[in-house]
């Protein structure tokens, strides 16, 4: 089972504590390919989180190993990455799950506010 998760044939759940940076990177790559620095800047802009280089490349290496992203051939030292079909599916599942949890939380907050 661990191997299945490692090969990424499911959601990002298998990433455990790495799901955070993984989701952010996949979300950033969802519209276009980006290299490391562009990813850092984009994630900082849309999520307000600045991924440190060590964290970024550990997550990139994991996502690549899982087949969720792939490098794009480049002559530049800044190698871009793009989402694979498997990565897009994993991101969709992960975000849907996050939305479900967020919806439940928001509903309960509203309920709590009404009761108090």
């Amino acid at each position: 089972m661990a191997n299945d998760r490692e090969q990424g044939n499911g959601a990002l759940g298998g990433l455990g504590r790495y799901a955070g940076p993984g989701t952010l990177i996949l979300s950033s790559l969802a519209d276009s390919e980006k290299h490391g620095y562009a990813l850092t800047m984009d994630i900082a802009e849309f999520a307000g989180v600045r991924l440190a280089p060590g964290t970024l490349y550990e997550a990139l290496a994991r996502l690549e190993r899982q087949g969720l992203i792939e490098p794009v051939a480049s002559t530049d030292r800044r190698r871009p990455y793009r989402l694979t079909a498997q990565g897009a599916e994993a991101l969709r599942t992960q975000l849907a799950e996050q939305r479900r949890v967020a919806d439940i939380g928001l509903r309960r907050l509203e309920l709590g506010a009404r009761l108090s």
């Binding site: 490391g36 850092t40 280089p53 964290t55 800044r78 190698r79």
Partner: protein
């Protein structure tokens, strides 16, 4: 100093913190990311800690201690760690064996436990010696067949290796003359343990001593012995480094899995025997006549190290055993 050049050198050094395989894949782009970030702003302490932390993590992954690594790399990591265990086990066992040999040169031990301890440690040492020779020969053959020796330009490392070996042979021969065993006594060679071997083993492991924690006892040693205790571990470390620089890390290559498994299992079994011998001596042995065969604090420490090593090697053997066969093709 040119600021751009200094930053570039700094990033190159930072990338070197990561393991070679990781650098080969991500090094260039990672270095560029560091350059981009450093050009933007002066990083905070957290940024540096993040880099250092992930570099350590990447090295642990490389050794198969953390993360998920593929079968081939897992086997190689297990083999490399077992090779480290063999070297450490050889050192610990030689140190204990040499101390027991001192007593045995004067008198046979009065306790059967101590006698068994010497026999167990001797068998373990032979097992480790065979494993070490096999690993060294295998690595050398693999390096020669792949032409790695030519690629690495090993002249300097080979020179350092030869120099270290010569100095260790000459030094241990000279220091060994003050061996508290026979040291030229008329009883020399009366026992199971050859005096010439005991002398050299004692001299080579003289630095593994609890005397470092007792400056007064240390001061009782002669300056030559003290210098040797400082120099010999450096020579040994340099010999290991130059060997590794010349031949490269231990790899399983195209060897069948049973050979790799056999090597790791032999290492585990040998170190286990040594740990058992050390335990018998340290915990159950009685001293012989004239206060001979008395275990010291260093022997208890060596017992703990060999105990931990035998467990670690057994876990490594399990790791090799559990690695799926299908992943072993190169």
């Amino acid at each position: 100093m040119n600021r751009v050049g200094a930053t570039s050198r700094l990033t190159q050094r930072l990338v070197r913190l990561y393991p070679p395989d990781w650098r080969a894949r991500y090094g260039e782009e990672f270095e560029q990311l560091l350059l981009d970030e450093l050009a933007e702003e002066r990083p905070k302490a957290r940024w540096w800690l993040n880099l250092l932390g992930h570099a350590v993590l990447a090295r642990l992954v490389e050794f198969g201690i953390a993360g998920n690594v593929e079968g081939r790399r897992r086997i190689d990591a297990a083999l490399r760690l077992a090779a480290g265990g063999v070297v450490l086990g050889l050192l610990c066992a030689t140190a204990m064996w040499a101390q027991l040999a001192v007593g045995w040169q004067w008198s046979a031990p009065s306790s059967q436990t101590t006698r068994s301890a010497v026999e167990l440690i001797t068998v373990g040492l032979i097992g480790l010696g065979i494993t070490a020779t096999g690993l060294a020969a295998g690595s050398l053959l693999a390096a020669v067949s792949r032409g790695r020796l030519a690629q690495r330009r090993p002249q300097i490392a080979l020179g350092v290796l030869c120099l270290c070996i010569v100095l260790l042979i000459l030094g241990s021969g000279s220091i060994g003359l003050s061996w508290p065993g026979t040291g030229g006594h008329a009883w020399a060679g009366r026992s199971l343990v050859p005096a010439w071997l005991g002398r050299r083993a004692w001299a080579l492991t003289l630095w593994l001593s609890s005397y470092w924690a007792h400056p007064r006892r240390l001061a009782q040693l002669g300056p030559t012995q003290l210098e040797w205790m400082l120099v010999s571990p450096v020579l040994m470390g340099a010999a290991v480094w130059s060997w590794r620089s010349t031949v490269g890390p231990v790899r399983s290559g195209r060897l069948p899995r049973w050979i790799t498994l056999g090597a790791v299992l032999t290492a585990a079994a040998s170190i286990f025997l040594i740990a058992m011998g050390a335990a018998a001596w340290s915990l159950g042995g009685r001293s012989g006549p004239h206060g001979l065969f008395v275990p010291g604090a260093i022997d208890v420490a060596l017992l703990m190290v060999t105990g931990l090593l035998s467990v670690a090697c057994a876990l490594l053997a399990r790791q090799v055993w559990l690695t799926p066969k299908g992943t072993l093709t190169t």
